[in-house]
Amino acid sequence: MNAATMHRRSLLRQGLGGLAGIALADMLHREDATADVVLHHPPKAKRVVQLFMAGAASHVDTFDYKPVLEKRNGEPWDPGETVELFQSQPGDCFASPWKFKPYGQSGKQLSEIVAPLGDVVDEIAFIHNLVGKTGVHSQGTLLQTTGFNLPGFPSAGSWVSYGLGSENENLPTFVVLPDHRGFASNGAKNWGNAFLSASHQGTVLRPSGKTPITDLFPPDSDFITPESDRAGLQALKQLNAAYAARRPSDDRLDARVRSYELAAAMQLSATDALDLASEPQHIRDLYGIVDEGSHVDDTEINAKAETEFFGRKCLVARRLLERGVRFVQIWSGNDNGFPRRNWDSHENVARDHGPLALGMSRGAAALIKDLAQRGMLDDTLILWTTEFGRMPCSQGSEGRDHNPFVFTNWMCGGGVVPGTFGESDQWGFRPRDREDATTVYDINATMLHLLGIDHKQLTVRHNGIDRRLTDVHGHVLRDVVGG
C-alpha cells in the first residue's frame, strides 16, 4: 500500500467519468483485492453493524437518564423557549414509565427496558448530544443512513463497501436485515448505492423468508431440476467463455463468466450463514431465539416476539460478520402503519417502547458478548442509531412527540473508548452545550476513521461535486477513538 496505489485506485474510480468499471475492477482483481484497498491509516475496526431503531427511539426512556422529569412529572414543561413540534403542542413534563438504575463499573444509568445491556455497559461509548436537521421521519432516517436528508445519496454501508471492498466474494459486502413486517420510511433508499456502483448496494437478507436473498435459488418450476440447473450452468459457462475468448481485451466478458460462479458460491455461503440450527442451544438462548421463529405471536406487541425478531437478526449478523461481510444493517421497526410495530410512540410510549427496547437490548447485548467471546469485538464496530429522539414532555397523556433537537447514539467495539461523551440538557431537550453538539457527520467520520479511512478523502465525483459520506462536515470524535 503506497501513495501510488492510492493514486491509481482513485484514477480508476474517477477517471471513467461515470462509474462503469469499478465493480468490474473489484470483481476481476479479487485475488489482490485486499492489496488494492488502500487505507489512510492503520484501522482498528474491519467491519460494522448498524442497529437502526425505525420510528425514532426515545433517549429519555432508555439511555439518557433525566431525574428532573421524575421530579416534575405532570408539571408544566418550560424549556424557556417556544418549541415547534411535529404533531402536537408541548405537553407537561413526562417521567419515563420505567425506573433507571446504575450498571457496571461506570455506574451508567440505564432504564429497565434496556437492562440487558447493563452487563456490557462498560464496553459502550454513549453520545447523548446528537442533533438532527428536521423532525420528519423520512428526512431524519435518510440523514442517519446516508448523511443527507434528501434521497439520492449512497448509504453509509455502500460507502464502506466502496472504500474497503469485500472480504468474501461469496457474500455481498453490505447486507441489510430489515424488519420482516415492513420497510422503514424511504424503504430501500436507506441502503441504496445511489451514484456508486450497484455492487455496493445493500443486499436484503430475510432470515425467515422463503428465499433469504431475492433470486438466490430457482423458483418453483416444472423444468428446473438440480440436474438441469447444473447442466444449464455448465453449458452457459462454455458459451460465455467462448464468447469472451473471441473478444479479447474486454474484461467485462470474463467478469460475467465469473459472476455465475460467484452466484453459485453465494448460494452455499448464504445458506451456511443462515443455518442457525448449527448454533448450540446456549447461544440460541443468549439471543432469545424461540422455536416458533418469525411465527411467534405478535398480535399484541410483546417482548418475547420482539426479542426473537431482533435477536435472530443479531445472530445472523454475527455469522455474516464471521464470514467476511463488511457492513450489516439491522432494523427494528417497520413503516409507520398501525398497529404500531415501531418506535414512533406518539400515543403510548409504554406500550411500544417496552417490548421493542427489551427485544433490542437483549439481542444487542447478546451480539456484544458473543463477539467478545470470539475475539471479534475488538475489530467490529457496533453503531446504534435512530432517526431522532423523543420529547421530554408528553403528547396526549402517554406519548412523546419527535425530538430532532437532541438524541442518543452509541458505539461499541471496533476500538471505541467506552464512556459517556456529549450530554443533553437537564430535560433531554437539547444538547447541554448548544455550541458543541454532535452530528451524524461526526459519527460517520468517526466510523470511517476506525475503519482506517479519512472521511475527507473517500470521495466520488457526481454531477460536478466530489461527494463524501460526510458532505462538507464532520469531525472524528477524538475522545471516542482514543486520540
Binding site: 471513467l16 467519468g17 461515470g18 462503469a20 465493480a23 468490474l24 411535529f86 428536521t134 420528519v136 421521519h137 423520512s138 428526512q139 434528501l150 439520492g152 466474494e169 420497510f183 420510511s185 424511504n186 424503504g187 430501500a188 433508499k189 445511489a194 451514484f195 450497484a198 455492487s199 448496494q201 436473498i213 431475492t214 433470486d215 438466490l216 430457482p218 418450476s221 423444468f223 428446473i224 438441469s228 447442466a231 444449464g232 450452468l233 453449458a235 452457459l236 458459451l239 460465455n240 464468447y243 473478444r247 479479447p248 481485451s249 474486454d250 467485462r252 466478458l253 460475467r256 459472476s259 460467484l262 452466484a263 458460491a265 413503516d335 409507520n336 402503519g337 454531477n463 460536478g464 461535486i465
Partner: protein, 999 residues
C-alpha cells in the same frame, strides 16, 4: 461608492481607490482572502455569528477582536489557533493553515492596517473563459455524416490509431435495432437486410435506419433516456411512498415528443412552462410533469406544512430539486452547488441560485386537470370548492361563538355535567360501532335498516341503542335518527300491507337518547322482522346519515336477545370495515353507561337543563343562518358532483384542492430570501426571479417587482434556457444525442459542463452538432441521429479477426476508445433485457402503448405505507407483458431484477448508467421468476415453430442473439436440449453473453 474587494478564485482583486502602501498589500494579498473564504459565510451582514460581521473588517478592531500591533493578546488569534487539531473558529470546520494564521498574526503585529473603506465579499468566480460558456463555433459546411467521419479519422491518424473494419450486416442490424428501438431484430428482418445489403449496402442501411426512426419504438427507446435524466417515477418517495397514479401522461408526452420529432427548443420550453406557453395547452400542462417528476415529501408538506420550520425546509428542498433538475438536464450546469456559497468553480453566485428558487416560488407538485374539463368548468369547480371552504369556516365560527355564549350561561352546571359525562363514558366503547348507512345530501332522504329473526317469535320488547362514535366529538348518540318509526311483521318480508307500526316518531323530532336505550314495548306479539325507518336523518357535518349501535329484540320471560347474529338488511350501507358493518347491529357489543340510577337521573336532568339553555340562546336568526349554510353546503356538494372528474396529470400547479396543510398558492408567490449557508433561519435580502449570467448578455434578471406572476417568471426561465445564444443547452443535447447513439458521450459528464466536469474529447464535433441542431428550422433530433448512424464510425466492428495486433496497439494508445477506432460494445440495458426476454418468447404486447402503467408487483396495505411486493406478482400476467418503459416505477422499493441490471435510480438525474457485473445480477438473470416463466413461453414457441432439436437451437439463437449459433456454441446447446429439453435451452440462451452484449 465604496470600493468593493472581490477576491476571485485566483485572488484577483479589485484595486481600491487610492495609492497602495505595503501594509494595504499585506491585508489584501494575505489576510482578506482568508477572511473571505473561511469566515465570511457565518460572519456577514445577514448572518452575524457571535454578533460579528466581517464585511467591514474595521469591526474586528472596533469590537475588540484585534489588539492593534499585538497579535499575542488579540482574541481573534486565540480563536483561530488550534489545539489538538481543532480550533474554536472556524466552527465545525478545519482550522486555518499555519501559513494563514501566521499571515494574520504578522498583519496584526505590523499594526493591522486596513486600506480605506475596504469591504470583504465572498469569493466568486467571474471567469467565463471556459469551453462550455464560449459561443458555439462551427463553420463547417456539408453533410454532417461526412464531416463527422473526417474529423474522427483525422484525429485517429494524428494519434496513429488504425480503425477496425466495418461490422458485418448481422451485427449491424442488431446494433442499430437495439440503439433505435430497444428491441431485437426478428430473424426475418435480419435475413432481409443481409440479402439487401448484398445488392446495395448503402440503400439497405438507409432504408433500415429510416424504418427504425419512423417506428413508434424509437420513442419508447429514446424516451427512456430522457426519463432517466428527468428522474421520473410514479411514487412520491420518502415516508409512505404513496403512488402517483397520474404521472404517466408525462411519460407518454416524452415518448410522443421523440416520435413526432418535436423541435428540441419547444420540447425544452414546454417542460418548464408548457402550461403557459404551449399552443396545445393540454400537452403543455402534461409537459410540466418534468418539473414535478422528482421525489416529494408528503408528510412534510401535508402533515407539517409551511407554518412550521420543518415544512418550510421541505418547500426549500422541493424548489432545490426543481432548480437542480432544470439546470442539470438542460444546461449541464450544477447550480445546486451554489446553495451555501458561491459556486467554487463556475460563475454562479449564491444569489443566482436563490433567483432560480424565486422562479419556482408559486408552484407545487400536484394533480392537475389537463383534459376532459373546459377552463370554465375548472374555474367553476374551484369557485365552488372555495365557497365550500369559506362557508364551512363561517359556519364553524358562528357555532363557536354560539357555543362560547352557551358555555358562559351554563357555567354553573357544566363542571358537574362534564364529570358525570366522563363517568358515564368511562367504558371504552367497543370498536364494532354498529350499522352505518350511506351518506345522504339531505335530511329527508328515507333510509331503513331491519333485522330478520329467521322465524316469527313472541317478543316482549325491542331496545334501540345509539352508537358511540368520536366523529366530531359527538360520542353517544351518533347518527341516531331525528324522526323515525319502527315496524314489525311476522312474515318473511315486510310490506306496507303486513307491517305493524309499533313506534312512530315521524311527526316531531325525537330527542337524541345518547347512551340511554330506547325501549319499545311489543307485548308478546309474534315478530320475524323489525325495521327501523328514518324519515329525518341525523346530521353529520355537511351531510346526513342513519346509524344505529345495537338493535336488541328481547323474548318474554328470560329476556334473551334473539336478534344476536340475525340477518340484517338495509336500504343501503357503507362498505363494511373494522368499525361499521350491518352485522355489528346485532353483535351484542354496544356502548353502555357506567352510572348508577341516581347518577343517571341527575345526568339526564343536567343535560335537559343544558338543552334548555341552548334552546333559549338559539335566536331564530342564528338558526336560520345555520340552516342556510347547511343547505348551501349540501347544494355545493351536489353541484361539485355534477362536474365531470376530468383527466389528471401529476404536474406543477398553483391551484389544486388543499390536502391537510398542503395549500395551493393560487398564483401568488412565496417570498424567497437569500439564505446564508442555505439556512432558513438566516434569511437575507428578498430575491426576485432570475438565473446566472452564464454567457454575455443573457437575460439573467427576469422581473423587477415583488408581486410578480409566477407564470411570467417560469416563461422567462424557459426562454432563457432555450435562447439561441445560450451555448450550454445546444451543447448539452448534442452531447446526449452522441451518447445515446455511440454509447459514450463526447463530454464524459453529461450533466456537468463546468470546471468539475470532463472536457470534450472532440470539441469541434460537439459544436458542429450543437450548431446544426440549433440552426435547423425543425430542431430535429432524428435528423442528427440519422446522420450519426450513417457515419462509418458508427458502423465499425467492435472486434475483428485478423486485427488482433492492431487492437493491441490501439489499446496502448487509446484504451478507453475515445477516438472511436472501434465500436463500443455494450451490455443491454435493464429495460432492453426485459423487453427482449418477452419479445423472443412471443409474449411482448408491442401494440399496447401508452396509458396507465402496468404493475409488476402487488400492493399490500395500500391505506398507509403501501408495501410493493414484487414476489407476489404473477409473471404470466399478460397485463405486465408490455414494454418496460410502461412499468409503474416505485421509488422506495425498486424492481429487484432491473435494479441489479443498473436501471436508473429515479431519485436523481442519471446522465449515464453504470454497467456493473455482479453475482446478484447473475442470480437475477438465472433464477428470476420472469425468466423462468418466459423460458417456458420461449420453449413453447420453439416447439410450435420447429420440428427438430437442431432447428429449435437455430431459431432460439436467431431470435435472442440475432444470429445462428457458431460451431463452438452449437454442441453444448444441442446436448442441453437433448438431455434437458427446450426450456432449459431457452433459460441458457437468455443468460448468454451473446444475448446480453451488443457488438
Amino acid at each position: 461608492m465604496r470600493p468593493i474587494l472581490m477576491p476571485l478564485l485566483a485572488c484577483l482583486f479589485a484595486i481600491p481607490a487610492g495609492p497602495l502602501v505595503a501594509a494595504d498589500e499585506a491585508f489584501l494579498d494575505l489576510v482578506a482572502p482568508v477572511l473571505a473564504r473561511r469566515c465570511l459565510s457565518c460572519h456577514n451582514d445577514q448572518k452575524t455569528g457571535g454578533g460579528l460581521s466581517m464585511v467591514d473588517p474595521q469591526r474586528l478592531i472596533d469590537d475588540g477582536y484585534i489588539e492593534v500591533a499585538d497579535a499575542g493578546s488579540s482574541h481573534i488569534v486565540e480563536l483561530i489557533s488550534p489545539s489538538n487539531g481543532r480550533a474554536e473558529m472556524p466552527k465545525d470546520s478545519d482550522p486555518l493553515s499555519a501559513e494563514e494564521i501566521s499571515a494574520i498574526r504578522s498583519w496584526i503585529d505590523a499594526g493591522a492596517v486596513l486600506p480605506a473603506n475596504v469591504q470583504i465579499q465572498a469569493p466568486k468566480i467571474a471567469d467565463r473563459q471556459w469551453w462550455s460558456l464560449e459561443p458555439i463555433g462551427s463553420d463547417a459546411e456539408g453533410e454532417l455524416r461526412t464531416i463527422v467521419d473526417e474529423r474522427l479519422d483525422a484525429k485517429l491518424a494524428q494519434q496513429k490509431l488504425t480503425p477496425l473494419p466495418p461490422a458485418d450486416p448481422v451485427t449491424l442490424i442488431r446494433r442499430v435495432t437495439y440503439d433505435l428501438s430497444g428491441l431485437p431484430p426478428t430473424p426475418q428482418q435480419v435475413d432481409a437486410f443481409v440479402a439487401q445489403s448484398r445488392d446495395d449496402p448503402a440503400k439497405a442501411w438507409r432504408d433500415l435506419v429510416d424504418r427504425l426512426l419512423a417506428a413508434p419504438e424509437f420513442g419508447e427507446k429514446w424516451g427512456q433516456h430522457w426519463l432517466d435524466i428527468a428522474r421520473y417515477a410514479e411514487t412520491h418517495g420518502y415516508d409512505k411512498d404513496q403512488p402517483r397514479n397520474n404521472a404517466w401522461p408525462y411519460r407518454d408526452y416524452v415518448i410522443n415528443s421523440f416520435n413526432s420529432d418535436k423541435p428540441f427548443g419547444q420540447f425544452a420550453r414546454e417542460q418548464i412552462a408548457g402550461d403557459v406557453l404551449a399552443d396545445d395547452t393540454s400537452e403543455g400542462i402534461v409537459a410540466t410533469g418534468f418539473l414535478s417528476a422528482g421525489p416529494w415529501d408528503l408528510i412534510a408538506h401535508v402533515e407539517v406544512g409551511e407554518g412550521k420550520l420543518d415544512g418550510r425546509i421541505a418547500k426549500h428542498l422541493d424548489r432545490d430539486e426543481m432548480a437542480a433538475a432544470v439546470f442539470n438536464v438542460f444546461q449541464s450546469t450544477t447550480i445546486q452547488c451554489a446553495q451555501c456559497h458561491n459556486h467554487k468553480f463556475d460563475p454562479i453566485e449564491s444569489e443566482d441560485y436563490y433567483r432560480v428558487h424565486a422562479v419556482f416560488a408559486g408552484i407545487d407538485r400536484a394533480n392537475r386537470v389537463y383534459a376532459g374539463l373546459t377552463a370554465e368548468q375548472q374555474r367553476h369547480k374551484r369557485a365552488l370548492q372555495q365557497e365550500r371552504d369559506d362557508t364551512t369556516r363561517q359556519r364553524d365560527e358562528a357555532k363557536k361563538t354560539f357555543e362560547q355564549k352557551v358555555a358562559k350561561q351554563a357555567a354553573a352546571i357544566d363542571p358537574q355535567l362534564d364529570a358525570l359525562t366522563q363517568k358515564a363514558n368511562q367504558f371504552t366503547p367497543p370498536p364494532q360501532h354498529g350499522f352505518h348507512s350511506q351518506i345522504a345530501a339531505r335530511a329527508d332522504v328515507v333510509k331503513w335498516v331491519e333485522v330478520d329473526l329467521g322465524t316469527a317469535k313472541p317478543i316482549d320488547r325491542i331496545e334501540l341503542i345509539a352508537c358511540f362514535d368520536d366523529f366530531n366529538n359527538i360520542g353517544a348518540g351518533f347518527g341516531f335518527p331525528v324522526r323515525f318509526k319502527v315496524d314489525v311483521t311476522s312474515e318473511a318480508t315486510l310490506t306496507d300491507q303486513n307491517a305493524t307500526t309499533i313506534f312512530d316518531q315521524t311527526a316531531d323530532d325525537f330527542t337524541n337518547p345518547e347512551a340511554t336505550p330506547v325501549n319499545i314495548d311489543v307485548g308478546g306479539r309474534a315478530v320475524r322482522i323489525v325495521r327501523v325507518t328514518a324519515t329525518k336523518l341525523a346530521e353529520r357535518r355537511n351531510d346526513f346519515i342513519l346509524a344505529l349501535g345495537e338493535l336488541r329484540v328481547l323474548s318474554p320471560g328470560d329476556g334473551t336477545n334473539v336478534a344476536v347474529g340475525a340477518e340484517v338488511h338495509a336500504s343501503d350501507s357503507i362498505p363494511p370495515n373494522a368499525r361499521w358493518s350491518p352485522r355489528f347491529l346485532v353483535d351484542q357489543r354496544y356502548h353502555r353507561l357506567s352510572l348508577d340510577e341516581a347518577e343517571a337521573k341527575q345526568w339526564k336532568q343536567l343535560r335537559e337543563q343544558r338543552r334548555a339553555i341552548v334552546a333559549a340562546a338559539t335566536t331564530p336568526e342564528y338558526q336560520r343562518q345555520i340552516e342556510q349554510w347547511t343547505k348551501r353546503l349540501a347544494e355545493i356538494e351536489q353541484e361539485l358532483k355534477a362536474i365531470p372528474a376530468g383527466q389528471f396529470v401529476y404536474a406543477v400547479a398553483t391551484e389544486f384542492p388543499k390536502q391537510g396543510k398542503f395549500l395551493p398558492t393560487n398564483g401568488s408567490v412565496r417570498a424567497i430570501h437569500f439564505l446564508n449557508r442555505g439556512d432558513l433561519q438566516a434569511p437575507g435580502a428578498r430575491m426576485l426571479p432570475g438565473a446566472p449570467e452564464l454567457w454575455p448578455d443573457g437575460p439573467s434578471r427576469f422581473v423587477d417587482h415583488e408581486d410578480y406572476d409566477e407564470a411570467e417568471a417560469r416563461v422567462a426561465l424557459a426562454r432563457y434556457v432555450t435562447r439561441r445564444d445560450n451555448p450550454l443547452i445546444w451543447r448539452s443535447i448534442a452531447n446526449r444525442i452522441w451518447q445515446w447513439t455511440f454509447g459514450k458521450p463526447l463530454v464524459g459528464t453529461p450533466n456537468d459542463f463546468g470546471r468539475m466536469g470532463m472536457l470534450p474529447t472532440h470539441p469541434e464535433l460537439l459544436d458542429l452538432l450543437a450548431a446544426r441542431l440549433r440552426d435547423d428550422r425543425d430542431q430535429s433530433i432524428k435528423s442528427i441521429v440519422r446522420e450519426l448512424v450513417c457515419t462509418n464510425a458508427y458502423r465499425r466492428a467492435s472486434f475483428a479477426d485478423g486485427f488482433e495486433d492492431i487492437t493491441r496497439t490501439n489499446l496502448t494508445i487509446d484504451a478507453s476508445n475515445d477516438g472511436l477506432w472501434r465500436f463500443n460494445r455494450r451490455r443491454l440495458t435493464a429495460e432492453e433485457f426485459r423487453d427482449s426476454v418477452l419479445a423472443v418468447g412471443g409474449t411482448l404486447r408491442t401494440g399496447d402503448r401508452g396509458g396507465p402503467s402496468f404493475q409488476d408487483f402487488v400492493i399490500e396495505r395500500p391505506q398507509h405505507s403501501p408495501h410493493y411486493e414484487y414476489d407476489l406478482h404473477d409473471p404470466n400476467d399478460p397485463a405486465s407483458h408490455r414494454r418496460t418503459i410502461y412499468r409503474f416505477v416505485v421509488r422506495s422499493q425498486p424492481q429487484p431484477m432491473l435494479t441489479t441490471l443498473d436501471c436508473a435510480d429515479p431519485s436523481i438525474s442519471i446522465a449515464r448508467r453504470d454497467e456493473s457485473t455482479t453475482a446478484l445480477q447473475a442470480l437475477a438473470q438465472w433464477n428470476n421468476r420472469l425468466i423462468e416463466a418466459m423460458a417456458k413461453r420461449f420453449a413453447d414457441r420453439l416447439s410450435a415453430e420447429t420440428a427438430t432439436d437442431d432447428e429449435a437451437v437455430r431459431l432460439a439463437c436467431r431470435l435472442a442473439w440475432g444470429r445462428d449459433a457458431n460451431e463452438i456454441e452449437r454442441e453444448p446447446l444441442a446436448t442441453l436440449i437433448a438431455e434437458h429439453g427446450p426450456e432449459t435451452l431457452c433459460r441458457v440462451v437468455l443468460n448468454a453473453s451473446a444475448m446480453m452484449y451488443l457488438d
